[in-house]
Amino acid sequence: MNKRILIVEDDTSISNIIKMNLTIVGYETVQAHDGIEALETIRSGKFDLILLDVMIPRMDGFELMEKIRPLEIPVIFLTARESVFDKVSGLKLGADDYMVKPFEAIELLARIETVLRRYGKEESVISFHDIQVYLDKREVTVRGAVAELTPKEHDLLVALLKNKNIALSREQFIEKVWGGDFYGETRTVDMHIKSLRKKLGLQDHIKTIYKIGYRLED
């Protein structure tokens, strides 16, 4: 079952773009545009995570946070404010993370994933067509048969799957798979992608995006 995420954001455009980004990687989303609406929505449904804007009408994010804390739903604050005070008070109130606008979609996705993992809500199996990825065992099967992947290939596949339908640049792949202290060439990514396509038969799904990088498409 897909994870349900509530987006509390008064600016329609921002709310929509978040929704689009979350939907495309497979999350189910619900939108609320002010504090009161958000509170009602939270009480009437079950959510795995809440993205909460601080400056929202009728009841601000901090106030809402205090009210929903007993429900123990993970919360990530979204805000334009950058002051340390706000960060501290947000985190003190029990927020799990804090994102300052403007933010990049893949950063948001990464934070959501981290928070969900912390709460043990992360899927242990990711399916894509006839491919199954068992994250715990670090095992990949294609049509039931185990595929032999190197550790880096495995991580690259996971990064592609988690950012499904979104193009990531070679630099972003390097950061996610090799870590920030990798000083090799971006061509390394191309070689691993080539090998992944071949081993898993993903030639049609891993698209090369001009001027950007690669994208895994359904």
Binding site: D10, P57, A80, K101
Partner: protein, 480 residues
């Protein structure tokens, strides 16, 4: 050393010194007076012997017999001693070569008697001597009888005077100790009492220093300390006011910065978000159209925001170029553009413009009128009505924009002129407003020394009046 301790200590020292000195002086003076009196008595007693002797000298000359002289002198001496029979009276009569003729001394006459040197007849000398434990007053004179010198020494015991003085000192020491103790206690209480208000002020000052600015000294007295306390309280309330003002300014500034960040970052988040989405995902027509639309609109919003911010920044500390003008003409010039923004909601725009000459910078007044009408349009529903009026009211020139829209809740009215303040955030945002219009109007009004009045009833509409005061007309008269 603490102040009360200083008061206490110095006054105690002063008291002890003065009290002791005064008492000692009194005792000493008393003693010396009595001594003087005693001397006088003694001297006169001596003189009376002398005169008795002198009285019989003629008789003694006739007889001219040493034995007779001795007998007579002894008789006189005995008579004298009997007469002065009190304690401690001694008489010695000595003839030539210190031969004692009469003596009732119960001690040995001191051998070294410096008072005798060069003693002339008919001269009386006296001296005080301590013999044993007694103090004795010696009075001596020499009388010549038949060419022989006789020395008369009358001695008076003055020890009681000294004993008396010692007794007085003993008594004084007791009194002194008691008085000083009493004084110390009284002074302690007094200095404590006098400095208690100071202590209280010190405590209050400390509390204020620790940030409790509303703390005050509670003192009712009218003396200097009371005055000081009153002044102190006045100072504290001035400081408190200043602090509150600073905090308010600070929080207004903080709010301004928060708002500006928010207003800048919200459109940026959308623009970057959509652009990135379009850039990184597979082409989808609906998403594409929605995306570029949002990017365009948010870009426009940023443009509007930046131009308004520039207006607001440029308006501060600027001297307007005042020229004689007429509100009526300015409104007439703007009519078409005002009707254009009103037509978006099919609002009926009513212009009731009376002649109202004033001195102003035309372009700025246009900004005010535009912003006020724009706000009125945003507050109004479809097919509402907006009235723009200009008129002279007494000496003042008045611009009035009235709508029949949603109105402003009372709690918001005080804040609507604050930059980025939005009574209804969602609505303002949907109307592409940043909440700067009224701030700009206020800045312009301030440049023109004009006042802005707001009358608003929820659900019935808002009327905003800009009142340009007379002084502008004075400038106008001098300018034309």
């Amino acid at each position: 050393m603490k102040f009360w301790q200083k008061i206490c200590l110095f006054s105690i020292i002063t008291f002890i010194v003065i009290f002791n000195a005064a008492s000692i002086m009194v005792i000493e003076r008393n003693h010396s007076k009595m001594l003087q009196q005693e001397m006088n008595n003694t001297l006169s007693a001596n003189m009376s012997i002398n005169s008795s002797v002198n009285a019989i000298v003629p008789i003694l000359r006739i007889y001219d017999s040493i034995d007779y002289e001795k007998t007579v002198l002894t008789n006189i001496a005995q008579e004298f001693v009997e007469k002065n029979s009190g304690q401690g009276n001694y008489l010695e009569i000595a003839g030539d070569q210190n031969k004692t003729i009469y003596s009732n001394l119960d001690f040995d006459m001191p051998t070294d008697r410096e008072e005798l040197e060069g003693l002339q007849p008919d001269e009386i000398r006296y001296i005080l001597r301590d013999i044993g434990s007694r103090t004795l007053l010696f009075t001596t004179n020499v009388t010549d009888i038949n060419h022989k010198s006789y020395r008369f020494t009358y001695i008076k015991d003055v020890t009681p005077l000294y004993t008396e003085r010692v007794e007085q000192y003993n008594f004084f020491v007791k009194i002194d100790i008691a008085a000083c103790l009493l004084y110390i206690i009284v002074m302690f209480l007094i200095s404590k009492g006098l400095t208690r208000p100071i202590d209280r002020m010190v405590r209050t000052a400390k509390e204020i220093a620790q940030g409790q600015f509303s703390e005050r000294v509670q003192l009712k007295s009218r003396d200097e300390i009371g005055v000081l306390a009153t002044n102190f309280n006045e100072m504290a309330s001035v400081v408190e006011d200043k602090i509150i003002e600073l905090e308010r300014n600070n929080s207004a500034q903080q709010r301004f910065i928060n708002n500006i960040t928010h207003e800048l970052k919200t459109p940026l988040t959308s623009i970057i978000g959509y652009a990135n989405y379009l850039r990184t995902t597979k082409y989808d027509e609906t998403a594409f159209l929605e995306g570029v639309n949002v990017i365009y609109n948010e870009g426009k919003r940023l443009e509007a925001l930046s131009s308004k911010l520039m207006d607001l920044i440029l308006l501060t500390d600027r001297q307007p170029l005042m020229k004689p003008d007429n509100l009526k003409d300015i409104v007439a010039e703007m009519e078409s553009s005002l009707r254009l923004i009103a037509s978006a909601k099919q609002i009926e725009l009513e212009l009731q413009c009376g002649d109202s000459p004033l001195s102003a910078e035309k372009d700025l007044i246009k900004v005010v009128i535009f912003n006020l009408v724009d706000n009125a349009v945003k507050a109004s529903g479809e097919k509402g009505r907006i009235a723009v009026r200009t008129a002279m009211q007494g000496e003042a020139c008045v611009l009035e924009v009235a709508d029949e829209g949603s109105g402003i809740a009372e709690e918001h009215i005080d804040n609507i002129f604050e930059p980025f303040y939005m009574a209804d955030k969602a609505r303002t945002r949907n109307n592409n407003g940043a909440g700067l219009g009224l701030s700009i109007c206020r800045s312009i009004a301030e440049l023109h020394q004009a006042a802005i009045e707001v009358v608003s009833v929820i659900g019935q509409g808002t009327t905003i009046r800009v009142v340009f005061w007379q002084q502008n007309r004075v400038i106008e008269v001098s300018g034309s």
